[in-house]
């Protein structure tokens, strides 16, 4: 809902965060900079998921599929001698090309059927990467030679740009007529259709946009880890992470995924190297608590409780 005051305020916070992130490489060591890079990665992925699932209510359990496709495309084009930025664009492009037909096919499915179909697609991606040995080297995976990789600063700023771009995209859609129509689909698809919303087209556009981002993110990610194999490209934990981050922060909102990503990543950083299992268990507990007790996410506590919140996931 239009709220000039809040928008002005969060806008300022946004500007401060952008400036901080741009200056950060000056004062941080490689490891700290890599940590921020991963925060941006999660923000970008979360916004992508937010775009389709938070806004339309079509819950995807397999958006990592597009991440995996982008990662493989990025790795392959890089080894075939393309410059890094072109490899990233190819990653996004291939994810987009796949998303168009997949969107038309899967978005006919409702509720759990869509969720399960996406989960299945992610697995199909993993299977293709495993069995297409000539191109992907199968289970061995692909390693990228260090001289092919762009510098950490390049990767950092690319990932930052993706996170920022994804956030601005969500913010833009949020305020547009398109965003309103997506939310109408979430509330009641039949009713939306009856008042003249082209639901199929809207859903597919949202889906394609939300696939494009993980595609590009995946390509940058592979340049950061310099290694990819079927299970790391199509990792199930990445799906969990996207969902938890968005729900924890506040689904269907612009700031929710950012707050969620910040909190979850810090938690993870404190835990993962020492207690990999504890870190995921903590995510599970977070997910349960949020689903049962805090359906609006962290952001709903921060906001004025009396305000009606039409933009929060039911």
């Amino acid at each position: 809902m239009p709220d000039g005051g809040r928008r002005f305020n969060s806008g300022w916070i946004g500007v401060v965060l952008v400036v901080l992130a741009s200056l950060a490489p000056l004062g941080l060591n490689d490891y700290q900079q890599s940590f921020l890079l991963q925060v941006f990665l999660v923000i970008a992925l979360a916004q992508a998921w937010n775009l389709i699932s938070g806004m339309t209510g079509y819950v995807s359990f397999g958006h990592a599929a597009f991440f995996g496709v982008g990662a493989y495309a990025g790795a392959l084009f890089l080894t075939w001698g393309f410059p890094w930025w072109l490899a990233v664009m190819k990653g996004a492009g291939i994810a987009l090309l796949l998303a168009v037909p997949l969107g038309f096919l899967t978005l006919r499915l409702r509720g759990p059927y869509f969720a399960i179909a996406m989960l299945g697609l992610n697995e199909v991606g993993r299977i293709v990467a495993t069995l297409w040995v000539d191109v992907t080297h199968g289970g061995t995976g692909l390693t990228l030679s260090p001289e092919l990789l762009p510098s950490l600063d390049v990767k950092y700023f690319t990932m930052f740009a993706l996170a920022l771009g994804a956030t601005l995209l969500v913010a833009g859609i949020h305020r547009s007529r398109f965003g309103l129509e997506l939310r109408a689909i979430r509330e009641d698809e039949e009713a939306a259709e009856m008042v003249g919303v082209n639901t199929t087209l809207n859903k597919v556009i949202a889906f394609v946009l939300s696939a494009l981002i993980p595609g590009a993110v995946g390509a940058v990610y592979v340049m950061y880890t310099s290694y990819i194999n079927p299970s790391s490209a199509f990792e199930h934990a990445r799906n969990i992470e996207m969902i938890v981050v968005v729900l924890f922060g506040g689904s269907g909102t612009v700031w929710g995924p950012i707050i969620g990503a910040g909190t979850v990543m810090v938690l993870r950083e404190l835990l993962w190297a020492q207690f990999p299992a504890a870190h995921l268990a903590a995510l599970g507990v977070l997910l349960l608590v949020v689903v049962l007790y805090l359906p609006g996410g962290l952001i709903s506590i921060l906001r004025d409780r009396q305000r009606t919140r039409p933009d929060v996931l039911r």
């Binding site: 209510g57 819950v59 359990f61 096919l105 899967t106 006919r108 499915l109 409702r110 509720g111 759990p112 059927y113 969720a115 399960i116 179909a117 989960l119 299945g120 697609l121 697995e123 199909v124 299977i127 495993t130 069995l131 199930h236 969990i240 969902i243 729900l247 990999p276 299992a277 504890a278 995921l280 268990a281 995510l283 599970g284 507990v285 977070l286 997910l287 349960l288 689903v291 049962l292 359906p295 996931l313 039911r314």
Partner: protein
């Protein structure tokens, strides 16, 4: 080609049917829950692994044979399921599908990682049943025959319970129409707890059966739950008998794909079936529910 020799086809078929019986036991429980409360329990395979690890602990600590522990594990996991329903699942029944999906998803993540903390990610196996029965030239694996037949027996038992007993009929009544059932004086809440307990017990039994055939680790559930999805989509969501046939079908198809293509392709069958069926028939082959 030697693959077409009847003996090999027969061996593949037997292997497939036996594996299918195990899938069926697992998937029928999942579908039972879906039928009664319209909740897809994403933690179903973790309940199964609870059974498998239960058998593992009883075997390594007390030396109990898995077939003996079955008698202890099934009631134990029934109560786990009963109270899970009471304290957790009951809260999401009747709420949007997404809520229950995410809640059971959260539960499954917690269970997997508790499993990792307790048992580490090493593969475990129980060397209690080994070797084979020889029928002429045909060798049939002892653990598989045992597990397959017990699974079949249990599934049929539950089916008869649902068909023949008063309580079973009440469960089916709730499954068909909860409000009408409530008006007829059925305690719907209690039925839901019993149903979830029963489904959990079925999963636990499947876990014990799994433990005598395969090696397993806390993350093994992911493959099984996705196979279950394929099965219930093929057999129809909420349809007990459909899930049974779907399970058998998947087992047999996997065995033949493993035989004629490769083990790696066999592992892919479930996902390919799942996606294909969903994309061709958006509500599944025999879908009863629309979200």
């Amino acid at each position: 080609m030697e693959l077409l020799e009847p003996e090999i086809l027969l061996q593949l078929l037997i292997g497939g049917l036996l594996a299918g019986a195990l899938y069926a036991l697992l998937a029928c429980g999942l579908n039972l829950v879906f039928g009664v409360m319209r909740v897809i329990n994403l933690a179903h395979a973790e309940l199964m692994l609870m059974g498998a690890f239960g058998a593992y602990v009883l075997f390594t600590v007390f030396g109990l044979h898995p077939l003996v522990s079955l008698l202890l594990i099934v009631p134990a996991i029934f109560f786990v399921g009963y109270y899970l329903q009471r304290f957790l699942i009951e809260r999401v029944v009747g709420r949007p599908m997404l809520t229950s999906l995410l809640a059971t998803y959260g539960l499954s993540i917690i269970l997997i990682n508790l499993g990792l903390l307790l048992f580490s990610a090493d593969f475990k196996s129980i060397p209690a049943l080994q070797g084979s029965f020889l029928i002429d030239e045909l060798a049939v694996s002892k653990p598989r025959v045992t597990a397959g037949l017990i699974s079949l027996l249990l599934t049929v038992g539950v089916y008869l319970f649902l068909e023949r007993t008063r309580l079973g009929k009440a469960i089916r009544a709730v499954s068909e129409h909860a409000q009408v059932a409530a008006i007829c004086g059925i305690d719907v809440r209690r039925i839901r707890m019993l149903t979830f307990g029963m489904a959990a017990a079925m999963a636990g039994a499947a876990g014990v059966m799994l433990s005598v055939i395969y090696s397993f680790w806390p993350g093994s559930g992911v493959d099984f739950i996705q196979k279950c999805f394929a099965i219930i989509i093929i057999g129809g969501m909420g349809n007990f008998v459909g899930a049974f046939y779907g399970g058998i079908l998947l087992g047999v198809v996997e065995a033949f794909v493993g035989g004629f293509a490769s083990t790696q392709w066999a592992e892919a069958v479930a996902y390919l079936l799942l996606v294909t069926v969903l994309l061709i028939r958006p509500t599944g082959l025999k879908g009863v529910a629309r979200a």
